[in-house]
Symmetry: C2
Subunit: 232 residues, 2 copies
DNA sequence: CGACGATTTGAATAGGATCAATGGGAGTGG
DNA sequence: CCACTCCCATTGATCCTATTCAAATCGTCG
């Protein structure tokens, strides 16, 4: 990879506590590539050869079984994915594809395992990252087991609204079929869920969604920090 | 705690690589208690004061939102729970109650954090444990998003069957309402799901379930190692 | 303009949930 | 030991949510 990319990668939570020499050697063995949209990066069941870091663009994690497919998560910059499989030297449990043109750092998993064996600071950073990933999945799982589709959508809109600065409207970060799959529903039902939210001030205009009565929406959604907060 | 319990605790994956002195001091600060069934140990939203280890009995992890409740996982001996919250020094995302009389080790979370800061081997063990927990939740999440209720039950029966030595029948490890909640369905629907499986050789006799046509059941269930295998 | 994919809408269906009532054991107290 | 009670599990009936299949509409890009 180009040395001009080093500072950016180094700033990732996972690497910022690492000593510089070790970081250099880790990154020297890595590949930095730009992929077009809709490229399959990995497939579930394959052995975990690389840890992936999204530097630009966005990656969709998805899973398949018995002819069905569902979106498990979206990984924005700067995020890692498939860390657990790499650490365990196991097969991937999820597949990944770029959802837009994306710049991706690929670090051989052997190097990751060597680094965390010999660098306690890196091990701590990994623990932090893993704990965050774990809690994020727990929240998703709670959401799908405890909420209806309309409630899931309402809370997701409220989350995006906060993320985007609470300006009264929201720009959907992915296309609607992806959002539907992420929320665990069919695309048709996402449309209908939006319609159900109309009386609560939700107005859809393409990828922009206006939230004209946030308090009504919150009354319906009953947001719960133990499900919806990203930072805890 | 009694010193006679030390070897048992030491044998837990999380602690076996720890040096003896450090282990002693960690355990000296810990509490070992026996609780009756149906005792609430922790509640979601509370700060993570202890890491819990189940030595005997069984603990149910559950979550609530908006008046609904769901079972997130069952923790058999010897398993830990709420590790991620302890490491992050955050609030619990799940509640826990004993489902039977249980012997529980409670280790102050501050001591856990100190230990993993200063003991690289312990940090590695934590990484292993966390990665396992993460992958377990991912599998649960895949199961609920990709399978119908009947398929989830069928695969769960096959898993228990394997766990219990493939003897042609299965002893349900928890009562049916708990199993239903764990599988993400109402108790009534669990009964109906069992009925649906009758033509596939599934015969319910109280807590014992006979699997008289395993190949038919597997044809229906389409088990998937990336969802159902516990050890990878 | 035309074509393709994404989204929305419509209609019918199915899968699960809910409500209500009944059956069945396990434990308690007489 | 038996009756009683209570809780769990099952069954029935109905409702509701979400899926499925089909078709129409919208938007974008060539």
């Amino acid at each position: 990879m180009r040395s001009s990319d080093l500072p950016e990668v180094k700033s990732i939570h996972l690497f910022e506590t690492m000593n510089d020499d070790r970081f250099e050697s880790l990154v020297n063995a890595a590949y930095l590539q730009t992929f077009p949209a809709q490229v399959d990066l990995i497939h579930e069941g394959d052995p975990a050869d690389f840890l992936y870091v999204v530097l630009d663009g966005c990656v969709e994690l998805y899973a398949q079984s018995n002819g069905r497919e569902t979106t498990m998560a979206m990984v924005p910059p700067v995020g890692t994915f498939i860390l657990a499989a790499v650490l365990k030297d196991a097969v991937y449990l999820m597949s990944a594809r770029t959802s837009q043109q994306s710049r991706i750092l690929m670090i051989p998993s052997q190097d990751i395992r060597l680094a965390f064996e010999s660098d306690p600071d890196f091990a701590k950073a990994i623990i932090r990252e893993l704990a965050n990933c774990y809690r994020a999945v727990i929240k998703e799982h709670k959401s799908i087991k405890l909420r209806s589709t309309v409630e899931r959508l309402a809370n997701r809109l409220i989350r995006y609204h906060t993320d985007q600065g609470s300006i009264g409207s929201v720009l959907l970060p992915y296309d609607k079929r992806t959002l539907a799959s992420l929320l665990g529903m069919a695309p048709e039902n996402l449309s209908r869920a939006f319609n159900t939210l109309k009386p609560y001030g939700v107005k859809v205009e393409g990828a922009t969604v206006h939230l004209n009565d946030l308090s009504a929406l919150e009354t319906l959604a009953k947001p719960n920090s133990l499900i919806d907060d990203r930072t805890m």
